[in-house]
Subunit: 180 residues, 2 copies
DNA sequence: CGCCATCCATACAGTTCTGTATGGAGACGA
DNA sequence: TCGTCTCCATACAGAACTGTATGGATGGCG
């Protein structure tokens, strides 16, 4: 039946709740109210809260790594790949990203998920710099700083919805030490 | 008597607990156990949990801004001020900083405290760059990126205890666009 | 000494959440 | 049609935390 829930439905709602209200809201009772069912459904699909949290984190790892690729593949203009990536990630404030990182501050499972995503993204940026002609050693350090800057930006509350200022992107590209 | 507690004692323990176990551990009952008293003491010093949280955050604002100044005043060597600051803040992993920022992700009061500290620190770095000869407009943007990078570093779990690698500091100074 | 203020213990009621046990309703195949 | 499997409701016990009410202990001070 269509009005029956799957484990995936619970996980999807978990990501929405995570982005909206943070990891402290990932509890069976409130979630069941939002889903319009009782906790009987929750405990049928998941052994306990920890199993549910693990499922939510596993799903986040997927979407967090999907986005970085999808965003680049749909690449529109004649910008360099680095500039395109920077313009993209410094545009919107990723509520989900903030929520998971807040979670990771004091939860081992969330920390592992974040670290795995960080490693993947970092090597992606480093490869981008190397492809742009930056020596490998410098590329590694600069990619690390650029990624840290993204994280700091994401977690700051200053991030406005629209386009990032051109001066910021220009400065980041200059710091990266690539032409264009 | 010396074995009596003050509100300050509760706040100090709050900062320690915050750094160790995160904001979810800032609860009257567990804290009282650690302090070796009952919740009767807690509710005598504070009207409720919200008032206690506000007191902890107010104290954090003080120490978070004290450190940046104290660290620079005790300046040892012949390095430039910027390099000295970078070496300092990229050295240790600030557990308290991480905890408060994790808290701020979904709590309005914590967010206000973080924003106030960010504004103060950011202007400090910008002034440093301007004093080093960077034009005001560029200094503002570069200070923002450097501070974001620090935040990203602090929240990453990669931070090792010892000295930061010289290559990292060199890259940061280069990105800042100052000589030295 | 007696009084009062400070600080804390204890007990109580109430809320929220967890996890389990049990059973019921609906779809679906043999 | 009769199980059977899937999904969910309900009820229960228990843990953890909040806030209040009340009284006890201690020390300072008149």
């Amino acid at each position: 039946m269509a009005d029956q829930l799957s484990a995936q439905d619970w996980v999807d709602q978990g990501l929405r709740t995570l982005a909206r209200d943070g990891f402290t809201a990932l509890k069976a009772d409130p979630l069941a109210k939002v889903m319009g069912v009782s906790r009987g459904s929750f405990y049928w699909h998941f052994a306990d809260i920890a199993a549910y949290h693990a499922a939510v984190l596993a799903r986040w790892r997927e979407v967090a790594l999907d986005n970085i690729i999808a965003d680049m593949e749909q690449a529109p203009p004649q910008d360099t790949p680095l500039r395109r990536l920077l313009r993209r990630v410094f545009a919107a404030r990723p509520a989900l990203e903030v929520a998971v990182r807040s979670w990771a501050a004091h939860d081992a499972a969330a920390r592992r998920a974040v670290q795995a995503v960080d490693r993947r993204r970092l090597s992606y940026v480093a490869d981008l710099l190397i492809a742009a002609g930056v020596p490998a050693a410098a590329a590694q350090t600069r990619a690390q700083v650029l990624y840290w800057a993204f994280l700091g930006f994401a977690l700051s509350e200053k991030a406005a919805p629209g386009e990032p200022p051109a001066a910021l992107i220009d400065e980041l590209v200059r710091m990266a030490g690539v032409r264009g």
